[in-house]
Amino acid sequence: MELTTVWFILIAVLWTGYLVLEGFDFGVGMLLGVLPHKQDRERERRVMINTIGPVWDGNEVWLLTAGGATFAAFPEWYATLFSGFYLPLLLILLALIVRVVAFEWRGKIDDDRWRAWADRALVVGSWVPAVLWGVAFANIVRGVELDADHQYVGGFWALLNPFALLGGATTALIFLTHGASFLALKSDGEIRTRAAALAARLAPVTLAVAAVWAIWAQVSYSDAAWTWAAVAVAAVALVVLVVSTRARREGRAFVASAVTIVAAVVLIFGSLFPDVMPALDPANSLTVTNASSTHYTLVVMTWVAVILTPLVLLYQGWTYWVFRKRVSTAHIPASIGLTFDRKPVTTGPAAEDR
C-alpha cells in the first residue's frame, strides 16, 4: 500500500477516535441543561459532568493529534482546509476553549452564578462543535471551490448549503444520542432512567436524519460503490440503537451509537479517497498525492504512529477501566469549591499589624 494511503487511513482513524470519544462528552455537555430535574438539578448535573470528568481531556487530544498529523502528512490539505474554513474553525476554537476551562473551573467555586456561567459555557461549548464538525465534514465531502493553487475561494456563506446544514444536524443528533446512551451506561439512579428514555426517543429521529444524509452523500458525492457498505453498517447500527434503547440494553446501545460514528467516518473518508479535499472543478482537487509530504517524512511519521498509537489506546483503555463504575448522586460529595464571599481573614500580612 502507498504510504499516502496509509496516512489517509491513519488520519481517518484519528478522527474516528476523536468523534467516538469526544462525541459522547459533547453529548453529555449538550444535555446538561435539559436532562437534570429541578428538585436535584445541581447534583444531577455534577453526576453528568463526573461521568466524563476523568476522560474528557484525553478524548480531546485525539483532535490535536488529527490536526498535527494532517499538518505533518498532508500540509497542503491542512493549509487549505484551515485557512479556507477560517470562521467556522474560529467558532469551534472559541467553543472548545470555554468548554475546557468550564470543566475544570466549574466546581472550584461554590457559587450559583459561577456555576451558571460554567454551565452556559459547557452547553454552548458542546453544541457549537457538535454542529460545526458536521457542517465542515459535509462540505469536504460535497466538494468546495478551490482555485488552481488549491486555495479555498468559496467564501463563508457557501459553507452553509443544505447538504452541509443537514450534516450539522446529523452530527448533533448522533452526538446527542451517543451522549445519552453513554450516560445511561455510566450513571445510576434517576438520571440513568431519564438518559435511557431520552436515548430511546432520540434514536429514531437520528436514524431518519442520518439515513437521509448518508444516502444523499453516497448517491451524490461518493465515487466508490463500496462505501454503500459503510452506509449499510451505519443503518444497521442505528436500527440496533433504536431497538436496544427501547429494550434498555445500555451497553449494546452505546456500542451501536459508537459503531454509527465509525461507519460515518468510513463513509466520509471512503467517499473522498483518493481526494482529500475535492474541488468543484475536479482539476483543482487536493488529492492524497498532491497534498502529501515527502516519502521520507511519511516514513518517519509512520514509525512514530505505529509505535505510539497502540500505547495510547492501551493507557486510555486502562483509564476507562479504572473509572468503569457508574456514578450516581450518592457518589457526589458536597461542593469542593470555595466561596468568593467568605472574605479571607485578611488581605495580607499588613492587616494583622493593627
Binding site: G58, G67, E104, P344, P349
Partner: protein
C-alpha cells in the same frame, strides 16, 4: 493594519498568553510530584496537604493552558497557511510527535491523577503525576524543536520545483544545536517560575501565620515548601544563567542580526562594550542610538569568550543580506533585514532584569529561613508575592525578543556552516491569503476579548485558592488507607 499585521498581533497575543500558563505548569507539575513523593515516602501529612494545595493551583492553571494550546496548533493553518505549505514537511513532524508522544500522556494521566486519589494504589497514583510532569517537559522539547527549526533550519532542503522545504534528516531536526540550547534554557526558566511561585506563596503564608501566632504550621508546613521552592530557584536560576549564556553565544553565530539588534550594535567592531542603558533608538535608526552606560569589552566576551573579538554590526549585516537576498521586494520597496531595535534591545534587557526578581527572593529566603528559622518580617511576605510575577515577565520578554528578533524572517536563513542553505521564508510570505482582513480582525478581537475575560477568572481563582492556604488536615485518601469496604462512598474528588 493589513492581514499580515493582524495575523502577527494575533500570533503574539495568543502565544505569549498561552506560554504564561505553560511555563508554570512545566515546572509546577514536577514540584507537586516531588511533594507527593515526599508524602508517599515519609507518610508525613504536611506533604499531602502541600500536594493538594499546590495541586489545585496547578489544575486551575493547567485547564487554561490546554484550552489556549489548541489555538496554537490550529492557527498555523488558519492564519499562516502559506507558511504551513512551505514548512509542513518538516515542521509538522515535531508537532504531531508532541501530540502522540507527550500530550496524550499528559492529558490522560492528569485525569487519572485528579480522579484517582481513592481509586488507585498510592504508588500508581504517584506515578500518574510523574507521568504528567515528564510528559509536559517532553511536550516542551518537541515544540521547541519546531520553533528552533524556524530560528535555524537544519536537516532539510529547498525543493525548487514545489517551492517547499523538505525534510531529509529527522535526527538533525531533533538534535538541532538551537533546540539543544533552547530546551534547557526554557525548562530552567519554567522551573524558576514554579520555584518562585511555590517559595513566594509559602513565604507569604509563613509570615502571615507567624504574625498570627501559629508558628507551628508556619514551621511544619510552609517552611518546608519555601525550601522546596528555594532549591528549585537556586538550581534552575544557575541553569537559566548558564544556558542563557550558551544560547546567546550560539545566537551570535546563528542569528548575528538578532544579537546585533539586541545590543544596538551598529557597525562591525572589536572589543565591543555591553550596553546597559541606551537612548534614542525609537526610530529604529541604529545610528541614532546613544549608549549611556556600558561595560567595555563585555559584549565581545559574552559572545565569544574573548574581550577583543570582532562582532558584526547591524549596518554591515544589512549590507550582507541585501547582497544575498536582494535590495528591494517585488514592489520595488527597499527591504530592511533588521528587526525592531527597541523591541529587541529592551526585550533582551527586561528578560535578564526580571530574572533577578527570583534571585532577590532566594537571597532573602536563604537568610531568613537559615537553620530552621521562620520569620515574621512583613516585607518578606510582600517580596514573595511580588517575586512571583517576575519570571513570567522575564519569559514573555524573552519570547518577544527572540521571535521579533528573527524578523523579517519567519524561517531565518543560516549564515553559518552548521545550518542548511537555501531554506528561508520572509514572514510576509507566510501569512494566509484566503481569510480576509476582516476575518483575522474578528478572530484577533474575539481571542483578545475572551482571553481577557479568562484572565480575570483565572486570577480570581488563583487568588482565592492562594489565600485559602493549605487545609488544616488531609485524610489519606488512598485505597490502602480505607478501613471499610464502602464502595458507595462519595468520590474523594469530584468536579
Amino acid at each position: 493594519m493589513d492581514a499580515l499585521d493582524l495575523a502577527r498581533w494575533q500570533f503574539g497575543v495568543t502565544t505569549v498568553y498561552h506560554f504564561i500558563f505553560v511555563q508554570l505548569t512545566i515546572g509546577l507539575a514536577p514540584l507537586v510530584a516531588i511533594m507527593q513523593t515526599a508524602w508517599v515516602r515519609t507518610g508525613n501529612e504536611r506533604w499531602l496537604r502541600l500536594t493538594k494545595f499546590f495541586g489545585k493551583l496547578l489544575l486551575i492553571n493547567f485547564a487554561i493552558g490546554v484550552a489556549t494550546g489548541i489555538v496554537q496548533e490550529f492557527q498555523f493553518g488558519m492564519a499562516w497557511s502559506e507558511y504551513s505549505r512551505f514548512v509542513g514537511d518538516v515542521f509538522g513532524a515535531p508537532l504531531a510527535m508532541e501530540a502522540l508522544a507527550a500530550f496524550f500522556v499528559e492529558s490522560t494521566f492528569l485525569g487519572l491523577w485528579i480522579f484517582g486519589w481513592d481509586k488507585l494504589p498510592k504508588k500508581i497514583h504517584l506515578a500518574c503525576i510523574w507521568a504528567v510532569a515528564i510528559a509536559t517537559n517532553l511536550s516542551a522539547f518537541f515544540i521547541l524543536a519546531a520553533n528552533s527549526w524556524m530560528q535555524h533550519p537544519v536537516g532539510a532542503v529547498f525543493n525548487e520545483e514545489t517551492g517547499r522545504a523538505e525534510m531529509k534528516d529527522i535526527g538533525a531536526v531533533l538534535t538541532n544545536p538551537t533546540v539543544l540550547a533552547a530546551f534547557p534554557h526554557t525548562i530552567s526558566a519554567a522551573f524558576l517560575t514554579a520555584g518562585t511561585f511555590v517559595a513566594g506563596i509559602a513565604a507569604w503564608w509563613m509570615v502571615r501565620l507567624v504574625r498570627r501566632g501559629d508558628v507551628a504550621t508556619a514551621r511544619n508546613v510552609y517552611r518546608p515548601a519555601v525550601i522546596v521552592g528555594l532549591v528549585a530557584i537556586i538550581v534552575s536560576g544557575a541553569g537559566v544563567a548558564i544556558t542563557g549564556d550558551q544560547q546567546a553565544k550560539l545566537m551570535f553565530e546563528q542569528q548575528p542580526m538578532k544579537m546585533a539588534s539586541a545590543e544596538a550594535l551598529c557597525t562591525t567592531s572589536s572589543h565591543v562594550s555591553f550596553s546597559i542603558l541606551a537612548i534614542g533608538n525609537l526610530s529604529n535608526d541604529c545610528d541614532n542610538v546613544k549608549h549611556v552606560i556600558e561595560i567595555p569589552g563585555m559584549l565581545s566576551f559574552l559572545a565569544t569568550g574573548h574581550f577583543d573579538s570582532t562582532l558584526q554590526g547591524v549596518d554591515d549585516l544589512q549590507a550582507q543580506y541585501e547582497q544575498k537576498f536582494g535590495y528591494t521586494d517585488e514592489n520595488g520597496n527597499p527591504i530592511s533585514y533588521q528587526p525592531d531595535l527597541t523591541v529587541t534591545y529592551w526585550g533582551f534587557r527586561l528578560m535578564i532584569g526580571f530574572g533577578l526578581g527570583s534571585a532577590a527572593l532566594a537571597v532573602a529566603a536563604l537568610w531568613l529561613t537559615r537553620k530552621g528559622r521562620v520569620t515574621d518580617k512583613k516585607w518578606f511576605g510582600t517580596l514573595g508575592i511580588a517575586a512571583i510575577a517576575t519570571p513570567f515577565l522575564a519569559s514573555s520578554a524573552g519570547w518577544v525578543f527572540t521571535e521579533m528578533g528573527r524578523q523579517p524572517w519567519v524561517v531565518a536563513p543560516n549564515p553559518n556552516p552548521s545550518g542548511v542553505d537555501g531554506v528561508w521564508l520572509i514572514t510576509a510570505r507566510g501569512v494566509s491569503t484566503v481569510p480576509g482582513v476582516s476575518s483575522i480582525a474578528i478572530s484577533l478581537a474575539a481571542f483578545t476579548l475572551l482571553y481577557g475575560v479568562l484572565a480575570v477568572a483565572w486570577y480570581r481563582l488563583m487568588h482565592r485558592y492562594t489565600v485559602e492556604g493549605v487545609a488544616a488536615s488531609e485524610k489519606d485518601p488512598s485505597p490502602e488507607a480505607r478501613t471499610d469496604d464502602d464502595a458507595d462512598a462519595p468520590l474523594s474528588f469530584a468536579y
